[in-house]
């Protein structure tokens, strides 16, 4: 039997106050198996009574070596790993990775594929925010919200299943376009969602936005200033709730985002409630983008016809020798990327989702680094929680909206 060692504070001496070392304050271990930590996050909390003095996050329980694994796969095959990062934003991860590959090898994307990408990532953003509001409200004891939001999320997952055969790990977006064209039922399914969802969103707001119990838990709790947020590298709705107008879809439009009419919700308070309002408004804005994208969806090819990177359609292989060679080369060796490095970023539901990609002239990436927004966002828990009650820590964790797969990679 392994002896269980007594845990001392020696290793963490530099992170806690002197009062913890003398035993005046209490160190409390929260997680990694704790329902309110939304996964396997461990928090070491220093408490004075019920007041949080210090909060030390401990991450890495879900580390799966995704970056190392991607280095051993060709550019096409490495893409399936990106789905597994942030499992609530799978389409967005695919988009970030594919855009990085396209930038590295200079590959074009046809207009229909661009519009489909925008449409699907915005649906995914809504689905991700639905999980956030469901679990956040569940933590705040509004249990029924969880059931309602999962009902709507199921509708979005059904649409993803319709186009790709998978509910979550779709890998539908591929370098140079999307996997294949959407089926005829797609438009009706999205129209159905567009029709039902605004009413549902009004119902959620009716349940929560002016609810005194929710206001008590959110208003003025977990404040973050603009300077703190920028210094800690926080992006996405948390940064926008502190009053910084930074949305990559507006500032650095990609996939034709400059042609869509939508607003970027901003608040200046920087507390839990501001983050709640920003995300709620973001769902409405995403809905606007989905509707515009569906209305303008142009006809045409959904994948680039650059045969050095994209395999030819099955129909060509039977008649064209060249197509057969391309097919064989692409599926055995993959395509080569230049010896260079790029950084490409998109706006995910949680913030800036960046990819650092370096090629070495061969068919496998030399180095892939996923800049995942949750990693930075969890780093500010201590700043937000200091001086609040331990019950408020639960509300703060919920309002950060992180995904452990995204942090640990």
């Amino acid at each position: 039997m392994t002896q269980i060692e007594e845990v001392t504070l020696d290793e963490l001496k530099h992170l806690v106050s002197n009062r913890a070392i003398t035993g005046e304050t209490m160190m409390l271990n929260m997680g990694p198996q704790h329902p309110a930590t939304h996964g396997v996050l461990r928090l070491l909390v220093e408490l004075d009574g019920e007041i949080v003095i210090n909060c030390i996050p401990d991450i890495g329980f879900l580390h799966t070596g995704i970056e190392k694994n991607m280095e051993a796969k060709t550019y096409q095959k490495a893409e399936v790993m990106t789905d597994r990062l942030d499992y609530l934003n799978t389409v967005g991860n695919n988009l970030a990775y594919c855009m990085a590959v396209e930038k590295l090898v200079d590959l074009d994307v046809p207009p229909r594929a661009q519009t489909l990408r925008v449409l699907l990532t915005e649906l995914q953003r809504i689905a991700s925010h639905l999980i956030w509001i469901g679990t956040h409200a569940l933590d705040l004891a509004a249990m029924s919200m969880f059931m309602y939001t999962f009902r709507e999320r199921e509708q979005i997952l059904d649409i993803l299943e319709l186009i790709s055969g998978q509910r979550m790990m779709t890998t539908y977006i591929r370098p140079g376009g999307v996997w294949r064209d959407v089926p005829v039922e797609f438009e009706a399914a999205v129209r159905d969602f567009l029709k039902t969802f605004p009413k549902r969103l009004d119902e959620y707001e009716g349940l929560l936005t002016r609810n005194p119990f929710i206001l008590d838990r959110l208003l003025g709790i977990g404040k973050l200033t603009k300077e703190q947020a920028l210094s800690h590298g926080v992006t996405g709705p948390i940064l926008r709730a502190t009053g910084v107008d930074w949305d990559l879809r507006k500032k650095r439009p990609y996939m034709g985002y400059e042609e869509y009419d939508f607003n970027v919700p901003l608040r200046t308070e920087g507390d839990n409630y501001a983050r709640y309002l920003v995300r709620m408004q973001e769902m409405r804005e995403s809905l606007k983008i989905v509707e515009q994208a569906l209305n303008r969806l142009p006809m045409g090819p959904v994948r680039s016809d650059n045969r050095k990177f994209i395999p030819p359609p099955r129909s060509e292989i039977g008649t064209s020798m060249e197509a057969l060679i391309h097919h064989f080369k692409l599926w055995t060796e993959g395509f080569d990327a230049p010896k260079a490095s790029i950084y490409s970023a998109v706006e995910g539901p949680r913030g800036e989702l960046g990819v650092y990609l370096e090629g070495d002239g061969g068919p496998k990436p030399y180095r892939v680094h996923m800049r995942t927004p949750s990693f930075e966002n969890v780093g500010v828990i201590a700043e937000m929680a200091k001086g609040h009650l331990i019950a408020d820590l639960i509300a703060i964790i919920g309002s950060i909206d992180f995904v452990l797969g995204d942090i640990d990679r």
Binding site: S231, I342, E352, Y356
Partner: protein, 170 residues
Amino acid sequence: MENKLEKIVQAMQAQFKLQVEEFRGEAHVFVGVTQIVDALTWLRDQQGFELLSAMTAVDYWPQAEPRFHVIYQLTSVANNLFLMVRVPVNGDQPEVPTVSGIYACANWREREIWDMFGIRFADHPDPRRILMPPDWEGHPLRKDYPLGYEEPQFTFNYEEIDLRKPYAEE
């Protein structure tokens, strides 16, 4: 390269004497290990790069000089600009000064690079591993670290594989 960015890079070149590369409109600036703290302080305070978007490293093993590049991806929210700063690091006892005093998020990112690449950050306030267990040996993202796997055990070879399985020491 955009005009605004080109001006900043030129000003930086005059101040720090460095090499610049350009690829697909992105500027990659090479800064020496000794200059990095000054360069990032100057970029944040004088040029408005207030956000350290990403920080990572690349291993060029078996090349020894420089073996690593530490990469700082900076964003200027005020001017809407991006800049990549690369620091070549020697393979023998790699060490870089910490920038966690300039950008708070560098604290965790530097712990991650120490964990994954074994690059030390001098004067780091909290130099522990972050993703791997504290008693882990080696640095997984180094190129001389093999991509490991686990042999699946079936009924017919369960015992055989069990004997050579690397269980934790008791």
